[in-house]
Symmetry: C2
């Protein structure tokens, strides 16, 4: 049963709609399934001038036709990049999420439905793999993120569907979309993975890399869920959110490494190098150093049988 | 401590040497570390005519100079492909392994040292991922395979070294190798991954894909080792090599799937589709069908609380 059949049609949902085929298909699927209280949220990144404004007009008029509310925000991605020294992708995502957080407050609805599909998932998996998140981690169908004090729930009901199938679905219903609107999203790496790497891999191996990467992401998600169960069963974290060293030391190597990486990530340590991870793991050894400096000035400390953050 | 330092220098070792930089570096490293009883094994695939014969002469003369015995075999890869309907890579590997098995019998030595390195490992990992071995599985430093009744031990001591470092190592010692001898190995997919995919991925992401894939392979190996410990602890396999359904059903989804895939693979089921795996998993449900047909005519059966092969 797909998400569109079991999710509540009566409650309110925010929907991220760029105007491209994927998010337009998402919106029509919501409408066709009888979702009545959708707030269409469109971000105008303003990176393609008149084209971007055309996307905005298209989305406004589509929302109106379907009887949905529509919220639009123009964001200054380049300004944000300069100000915060963020990459274009990070800046654009940050701006989008902050917009969703404001809309969540305004509409008293923290669930955001997004149009990511299997091809996006494959790109995410490969990109995560290459940049050092060693596992084949992809996006989850449902994920909570905290943005400006709001706990947004990002929902991605189309992760099993191929982009080409969504396009066929729209064509079969004679529905329109904005052909180039995805170019408005500054995702150069992803676009190149999609347009250059995947066709090359498919040609060389005779296999569909998108299908393989999606299966791998599902297998990894299952393994991760199980590892998390194990960590919970071993009571590695104490009620204060510190690592309980005795429980921690009883874990196999592989789980210790994973638990420590999760601990660092949850504490906001952005880039976890192999060296940092090893140093943090060594903290559990009472004969070694009792603290580790973290990027950004905070520290990880060991005392009284616990490992914790000293900010 | 590298393998070259802790492995026994006094015992006999077979070494696979093509004449290319990697296996020539392997041979010199063995010699430099004081390994005295090495049998150099060279396969002439005969795919490049006079060039292939030049490789053979080079390897013979190098072995002689280092004081090592040398065994050479010419194999008919194309004939084997036609006869057994194997791909070129499978045929060449099969011929090589059978040659090693004969040499193991002749020299009473079943350990074969091979020159695979980190770049080969990265290709293996990506190729395994794409063809559906969902995990990021690579080669192991030591692996047993049974070939024609001989249990060969394949040892790969250079999996952590980069090809470029091996070349520098040879150059630093003014040692020679056969530049194109790796072209004699019919590994078209691997060559294209190396020459086309990796540079493209590196260019797009600004990261080194070989390093990322090697880290991933190590993490996967750790996780796999742990999963195997869990399976052993749950006594999923009975002494007759059958699956014990009660123990099996107590496992989390993820481990059940892995145990069944391993079971099928160990029984020689070559290509395990998702559908076959699901059907095999459903066998554990006593209210469902009691057998599953396997490719090749054999069957998987459930009876008396066990799942087993009926050939």
């Amino acid at each position: 049963m797909s998400w569109f059949h079991h999710a509540s049609r009566r409650r309110k949902w925010l929907a991220g709609v760029s105007g491209g085929a994927d998010s337009v298909a998402l919106l029509h699927k919501l409408h066709e399934a009888g979702f009545a209280r959708v707030v269409v949220c469109h971000v105008n990144h303003g990176l393609r001038g008149a084209e971007s404004d055309g996307d905005e007009r298209f989305v406004r008029s589509l929302a109106k036709r379907l009887g949905y509310a529509c919220e639009v925000e123009r964001v200054d991605v380049r300004g944000r990049m300069a100000e915060r020294r963020e990459s274009m992708e990070t800046a654009a995502r940050g701006a989008r999420w902050e917009f969703f957080a404001r809309m969540a407050r305004k509409h008293r609805c923290r669930s955001v439905v997004l149009g990511h599909h299997a091809d996006d998932q494959a790109e995410t998996v490969l990109w995560n793999l290459l940049r050092g998140s060693h596992r084949l981690r992809g996006m989850e169908e449902e994920r909570e993120v905290e943005v400006e004090g709001v706990r947004l729930v990002l929902v991605r009901p189309m992760l099993d569907e191929r982009h080409s199938d969504l396009v066929e679905w729209l064509k079969g219903r004679r529905l329109k979309w904005r052909e180039d609107s995805s170019n408005d999203e500054p995702v150069a790496v992803r676009n190149r993975l999609r347009n250059e790497v995947f066709p090359l891999l498919g040609g060389i191996t005779g296999r569909d890399p998108v299908a393989a990467l999606n299966r791998a992401a599902r297998d990894t998600a299952e393994a991760d869920a199980w590892a998390e169960e194990c960590l919970a069963a071993h009571r590695v974290m104490d009620p204060q959110g510190r690592i309980h060293i005795r429980a921690f030391s009883g874990l196999p190597d592989f789980l210790r490494r994973r638990a420590m990486a999760d601990f660092l990530r949850n504490a906001g340590v952005g880039s976890i190098s192999r060296a940092l991870l090893e140093a943090a793991l060594d903290l559990a050894d009472v004969s070694g150093p009792a603290s580790v400096n973290l990027p950004g000035g905070s520290r990880l400390r060991r005392s009284a049988g616990r490992i914790w953050f000293d900010r």
